[in-house]
Subunit: 192 residues, 2 copies
Amino acid sequence: MNEIEKILEFIVEIEKLKAVVRKTRPVGIDRYENSAEHSWHVCLSALMLKDYANKNININRVIKMLLIHDLGEIDAGDTIIYQSETVENKNKEAAGVERVFKLLPEACYEEYTALWQEFELGLSADSKYARAIDRVPPLLHNLLGEGHSWQDNKVSKDKVFSVNSRIKDGSQKLWDVMESKLENAVSKGILK
Amino acid sequence: MNEIEKILEFIVEIEKLKAVVRKTRPVGIDRYENSAEHSWHVCLSALMLKDYANKNININRVIKMLLIHDLGEIDAGDTIIYQSETVENKNKEAAGVERVFKLLPEACYEEYTALWQEFELGLSADSKYARAIDRVPPLLHNLLGEGHSWQDNKVSKDKVFSVNSRIKDGSQKLWDVMESKLENAVSKGILK
């Protein structure tokens, strides 16, 4: 098979991310979000908020990271973050990413597997910022949607603050804004 | 309002693209695609096919272009390409893009409005390649989905070949592959 045909096969395979359903509803939309549209949304969010990263980041790498960050869910499915960061789930995602990137030419397989791992590890400045941004839309969905996903999934305010405070590792300024919105949600009683 | 708050307002506003329904069904998924997940899909497609562009392109600019290329549809809605390229529709999209980008700080408004216009004009190497890639997933949806959208929308093979041959302006090699798939669809009788 020629390389273009291989890449087209990858393009068809990753469509499955459009069928992976997440745990929040987008603002004003009466259905749950899928991981493909979420991926688009975090890319544009990262682009527009880039000047608020704590450190010098390479926004082009961040966007690539966010384009691929959920591909492991094609095989592993989406799990709410408050329960998903287990070794078993991460292994499933890693195997899924590997399977999908194997459809690509070897050099791409290596490059994008490494980029996905960098995102997962969250140690570099780029990945810290990408992981911060990944948290923003689901928080906005809850904040503007009566805390629907926090309540449906019985997530406590302590858990919400502790998991999302990772935003400050990527952008202290963004966390300051989000933290005050979360405190406001607590006063309003939609986050308990 | 501080700038981060303005950008968060933009992030919430663009969610509406998740509710804009397109005219093809993704492979293996029993619903129509929306323009947000399509935008993610074309970004990753562009990234993986970048080495097949006719000219030297800046893939980072191409990805930014594709992230924003459909934002005008929030106000204008999606129209099938075989009928959409009218002055009236393009004006509606341009006004929609302007309204949405106005939510951003001034410098971003100017930068991304210009980038959107560059995509629409399709004269630069980056925009020619981006516009080529934008055609690929809907063709794959039809090719692997019994030509459902061609038939539902009564699109003739002449129209399909003439509109999509713009792929060759961005990537002759990609058009060679797609053209042969389209010819195959004609032989199979799913494109008439």
